[in-house]
């Protein structure tokens, strides 16, 4: 057995930002790599991986959570505002939290939640009504609760918060309901708001001229997936969603900043340092919320401080994270709307690709390409792992009057065309595919990379799969009995490495036999 790196600082694990034995942030480290340094489960041993425990939540709905593990406990958020603390060794319930969602919530895509953040044994999560709350990790007691915005106006929240020093940074959801997106930072101690960055430029602000009239007030650009933080540049990177209304851009001529962009934010002040817009004037609902990953690369012989993202619009991007300039972009899936991305960063668009009343077929479909599902970067292989849906769609538009708090999408897509997907390993230096695994259905789950030379991913039909991170060879699989939408995590306890994932309504933990 290979040496297992262990932290014995029980009780203080929550302090460690990247203790290999624990998992204390949505993306494992603040860079969002989802790379576990544990290597007991590796390419040679993984075939013996076996279930150690299951916890059945009995709460229906989609389970998109990234569980946190520290102090021997696992902290799991579920649909409909539920949360549980489980014993990480046995799966036994320690405490549970519930708060029945209000009626009249405007949820585009299910009553989901994607996880906790933690600082000093204090947990933070959002509830569906757009509130942010702090909880005591030992008891589950609520310490403070802050309303970020008014849910009656269409604002909701689903993403795991991001800890940046003493700030709890949180996004919102609701770009299908005529909201104005933002990213907020709250004092972890008091719950008081420290700063807010609106992700839709207002009238008179820089970028405000990329909207017309009052459309910015309902410009969308929601922030429903957790961003990343680079301590070296003190920048927070956060992806933004579609402009509203989604599919009819006629009412909002212009680029619509900062929708479908990544924004780089000064962590202390909340000021916008730079932005990069992947899809100017988006009319296909191609949110740019996929994990923005800071990673240092060598491009054409030159070391660069990069930020990489597999965008929903079908292109993989490499940006300079110090200034937001485009370094490279390459399509990773079938793309019919653009001929590539010009050196100035703007897409070379192909005309006639906008939605029409009668329907216009465009690739990729509404969900991408790669959507929101968690990605992984392995410093061991130097590869970036993510999923992609391989399906084109008919995009329809219609005119629609805005009514506050109501669905504001201005039409729809045809979903009858069959389509599958791929799990991809991409070389971020070149944008070319190192390996791929074709899936029968559009992918649902997120990724985990480990120092054991493995990549784990769950699929739509309930399999948790272990791949050789270098070659993509399937080394192990387990049928968990329910669609896996969540990303797997890894942690260690008493000298054993675990892999855990939410499948259907169940948390499952795996380890090697003793």
């Amino acid at each position: 057995m290979k040496l297992l790196i262990l932290s014995v600082l029980a009780g203080s694990m929550a302090l460690a930002q990247n203790d290999p034995a624990s998992w204390t942030s949505y993306g494992k480290n603040s860079l969002g790599w989802r790379y576990s340094e544990l290597d007991q489960i590796n390419t040679k041993t993984v075939s013996k991986l076996a279930v150690q425990w299951m916890y059945q939540t009995n709460v229906p709905g989609k389970n998109e959570t990234t569980p946190l593990v520290f102090d021997r406990m696992m902290f799991v958020t579920g649909p409909n505002n539920f949360a549980w603390a489980l014993d990480a060794l046995t799966g036994r319930l320690i405490w549970s939290y519930k708060s029945a969602p209000q009626g009249g919530l405007n949820l585009c895509c299910g009553a989901v939640n994607r996880g906790f953040a933690v600082k000093n044994s204090r947990l933070f999560k959002v509830n569906l009504d757009g509130t942010l709350l702090a909880m005591d990790a030992t008891s589950g007691a609520v310490l403070w609760q802050t309303a970020m915005e008014d849910y009656k106006k269409g604002y909701t929240a689903t993403a795991a918060p991001l800890m940046v020093k003493n700030l709890v940074v949180s996004g919102m959801a609701g770009a299908e309901f005529g909201t104005r997106g933002f990213i907020d930072a709250y004092d972890a101690e008091t719950g008081k708001r420290v700063w807010r960055l609106y992700t839709v430029a207002g009238e008179g602000e820089p970028g405000g001229d990329t909207w017309s009239g009052e459309t910015w007030k309902r410009g969308g650009a929601s922030t429903w997936i957790t961003g990343t933080y680079d301590p070296n540049t003190n920048l927070i990177f956060w992806g933004t969603g579609n402009p509203g209304p989604d599919l009819n851009g006629e009412v909002r001529p212009g680029d619509n900043l900062y929708a479908c962009s990544v924004v780089a934010i000064d962590a202390d002040t909340g000021k916008l340092k730079w932005h990069y817009q992947f899809t100017p004037h988006d009319v296909h609902d191609w949110d740019a919320v996929a994990d923005p990953i800071p990673v240092d690369l060598t491009l054409n012989g030159n070391p660069v401080k990069a930020l990489i993202q597999a965008n929903r619009n079908g292109f993989f991007y490499v940006l300079d994270r110090t200034n937001g300039k485009l370094l490279n972009a390459k399509a990773y899936t079938k793309v019919t709307w653009a001929d590539g991305i010009a050196p100035n960063g703007r897409p070379i668009t192909i005309s006639g690709q906008d939605p029409t009343e009668e329907g216009n077929r465009t690739c990729p479909g509404m969900g991408g390409g790669h959507n929101w599902q968690a990605t992984a970067y392995s410093p061991q292989t130097g590869l970036y792992y993510f999923t992609s849906t391989e399906r084109c769609m008919l995009f329809y538009k219609t005119t629609q009057e805005f009514i506050e708090g109501q669905w504001y999408q201005a039409s729809t897509v045809g979903r009858n065309e069959p389509g599958g997907g791929r799990i991809l390993a991409l070389d971020p230096k070149t944008g070319s595919t190192a390996w791929q695994f074709d899936t029968i259905s559009p992918p649902t789950g997120g990724m985990l990379a480990t120092a054991g030379g493995l990549v784990f991913a769950g699929d739509a039909e309930g399999y948790l799969i272990a791949f050789d991170a270098k070659t993509g060879k399937v080394l192990w699989r387990f049928q968990a009995g329910g669609t896996i939408i969540a990303p797997p995590i890894s942690y260690a306890l008493d000298g054993r490495q675990y892999i855990a994932v939410a499948a259907g309504q169940t948390m499952v933990a795996f380890a090697l036999p003793k």
């Binding site: 649909p79 409909n80 219609t398 669905w407 999408q409 729809t412 009858n416 695994f437 029968i440 699929d459």
Partner: protein, 253 residues
């Protein structure tokens, strides 16, 4: 969530009334259209002219012709059909707006079928051999889609296309899979389940098979229906008769 859904359904049911409170307000119909395109168009078509779901422009509806019948069909679904309930996603006002939209479409010039249903019934069970795969009531086989309510569930256009070009749109749950065994033998059948590592299927003789990926040479979905085209089997007259029979299937046999 369960409780919430339940309460909303009760609320929707209590507010259901005989006539649409929005009347024939064109504004209500227009806002209903926005919702229709998102929720209903995938089955009923972007212009509500039917497809997998019935044509809604004919002014005649399977669940009843009164406003309250349409309301109920949308809010509570139609049990035993593919029409789901939307009462937990739409408030009463939104359902009525959908009713307004559907009403605004009615052409009242239903496509008529030329053929003779009785002759079509004979062709169905006789020359066509359709009962080898399809069921009507308690007669026939369950390998293919149950046609007991085909006249309610599908538009005439859709039924005709299904008979002539079965590959054009395959009813969910009736896709074709093909497995090539290690010895070169091929098994094609109707997909009962498929995932990245296994497949379960029923062949046209009704035999059930299950395979794991490692044990076979290949397994894959095929973009075709196992049903052959009947374009060359039936004369145009026989086809009209068959369509008359299929359209007459309303679930009462």
């Amino acid at each position: 969530m369960f409780r919430l859904t339940f309460l909303l359904l009760i609320a929707a049911a209590c507010r259901a009334q005989t006539n649409n409170p929005l009347g024939d307000d064109p504004k209500a119909a227009e806002t209903g259209r926005w919702t229709f395109r998102i929720l209903c168009a995938p089955c009923h078509g972007i212009h509500a002219e039917g497809g997998r779901g019935p044509d809604l422009t004919r002014g005649a509806y399977s669940a009843g012709d009164q406003d309250k019948d349409l309301y109920s069909a949308i809010a509570r679904g139609i049990p035993g059909s593919e029409m789901p309930a939307y009462g937990d996603r739409l408030d009463a006002d939104a359902v009525w707006r959908l009713v307004s939209y559907v009403r605004s479409l009615a052409r009242h010039d239903a496509e008529t079928v030329q053929g003779n249903a009785a002759a079509g019934e004979s062709a169905f069970w006789g020359k066509g051999g359709c009962g080898r795969c399809h069921r009507v009531g308690s007669k026939g086989s369950g390998i293919g889609p149950d046609l007991t309510r085909a006249g309610r569930q599908r538009s005439l256009q859709y039924i005709k296309a299904s008979v002539l070009t079965p590959d054009a749109d395959i009813t969910p749950g009736y896709g074709t899979v093909k497995v090539v065994l290690k010895d070169g033998k091929t098994i094609s059948g109707i997909e009962r389940s498929i995932d990245n590592f296994s497949v379960q299927l029923i062949d046209l003789n009704g035999r059930y098979f299950s395979f794991v990926r490692e044990d076979v040479t290949s397994m894959a979905r095929e973009p075709r229906s196992l049903m052959p085209s009947y374009e060359k089997v039936f004369t145009p007259g026989e086809l009209d008769d068959l369509l008359a029979y299929l359209v007459s299937l309303r679930g009462n046999r």
